[in-house]
Amino acid sequence: MNSDRHRGGWVIVLSFVFSFMLVVLPMPAWISAWRPDWVAMVLIYWCLALPERVGVATGWFVGIVHDVLNDTLLGQHALGLVLIAYLSVKYHRQVRSFSVWQQAIVVFGLVALNQLLGIWIQSLFGSPQMRGSFIYPAFSSMLLWPWLFMILRDKRRAYGVD
């Protein structure tokens, strides 16, 4: 992120901070299982909106912070978010032309991929936690995507982030 070339970097940083707060916000267990993958959603949005600015590197750093906050293996979320960022940046032209609900389906796919990868890594390093509930965050992320999309788009335009 080069603040000398672009404007409004703090909006991006703040949006990630908010997503991290939502990640650790205490919730009853059954809601917690349905908790959307906020960080991945915010990352997907910025990758689609500003692909020359937010990409694989941002995904990696954000993933490391996610790992530290969630007390998972360092690099687990980083790997997933790097892949998400890569796919979002690579196909940002196609996805941008989709309607918001079509985008939501893409988000569903990416979050599901991230979840599966997490389970796969955990079983590789010796604590398998395979259960059907891994797909719940993908559903909730899909349903909340239009809402997050509107908010972030408004903020991006209001603060002239480019």
Binding site: V17, V56, G59, W60, V68
Partner: protein, 284 residues
């Protein structure tokens, strides 16, 4: 100003490497990190990273703290007086018990000296507060507001007023992560207080359930039964001996297996505790 900007542009903006190359670099970096972390090479790094993200944990915890403060500030004066009275009475009772405790302690030490088996009695405790933040929902872990700057170390036992809660598994500068005894990866050496039967209490990843391992089907009736209290046995050098862990709630012999299915319920209030105690060995 303009001059600096353009020059900066020249220095810092080399053409970006192709996307796929960056992908490979960061994927490799993640894999290397995971392997290093799995082998515990990154303890100090994680300590500092956890210190770095403490503001986020603090911010999330803030509303809870504020509401606590608010309820305290607005609670009625009479209620407070009642509370003080109640606490004073409780303290009196505890002090009476403590008088006997001092006597018993010295007697115990004398007897141990006679037996020539010295035992260090007494641990110091440090108060910590549970931060209202969530971790992975499939694991049973909590975050407390004390870190390396307060002298917390890895493997330090954590208890509450009723029993053993868990142990510190990760320390940051200002906060640490505690694995509860109900986490599916936690094993705690325990014994049955009534009979001295030794076993291991393993977490089941479920709320408020412990599974007692390696109890044979034969001799179930003499060794362990429902409502038995289990305490830490002191083996393993992490937990000191004699702290209450839980109560046996279910003993069912399993004919197909060499071991019986025994479940216990933890004594400590694991899920909705605000204040916990960190145990320090007397030498520290």
């Amino acid at each position: 100003m303009l001059n600096i900007r353009t020059r900066k542009k020249g220095v810092f903006h080399r053409p970006k490497r192709p996307l796929s190359l960056r992908l490979v670099i960061f994927v490799l970096a993640s894999i290397v990190l995971m392997i290093a972390d799995h082998r515990d090479y990154l303890k100090t790094v994680r300590t500092h990273l956890l210190g770095l993200v403490y503001p986020i944990q603090y911010l999330v915890n803030l509303p809870v703290k504020a509401s606590q403060w608010l309820s305290m500030a607005t609670s009625n004066r009479l209620q407070l007086i009642d509370e003080i009275e109640r606490l004073r009475a409780e303290k009196q009772q505890l002090q009476v018990t403590l008088q006997k405790f001092e006597d018993l302690k010295s007697e115990n030490e004398r007897l141990r000296q006679l037996l020539a088996s010295p035992l260090k009695v007494g641990e110091r405790v440090q108060l910590a507060e549970v931060l209202a933040v969530d971790l992975e929902h499939s694991r049973r872990k909590i975050v407390i507001d004390k870190g390396t700057t307060d002298g917390v170390r890895v493997n330090q036992p954590v208890i509450d007023a009723f029993g053993v809660m868990g142990q510190v598994i990760r320390v940051g500068l200002f906060s640490s992560t505690v694995m509860l005894i109900t986490d599916s990866e936690h094993k705690l050496p325990v014994q049955v207080l009534r009979t001295g039967l030794r076993t291991v209490a393993k977490g089941m990843g479920a709320v408020n359930r412990l599974s007692l391992l390696n109890i044979s089907n034969t001799g179930l009736n003499t060794g362990i039964k429902k409502n038995d209290l289990i305490v830490t046995s002191g083996t393993g050098d992490i937990f000191p001996q004699g702290y209450p862990v839980g109560t046996v709630i279910d003993v069912s012999p399993d004919i197909g297996q060499p071991h019986a299915l025994v479940h216990a319920e933890p004594r400590a209030v694991l899920e909705r505790n605000r204040d916990v105690l960190l145990l320090k060995k007397s030498g520290e």
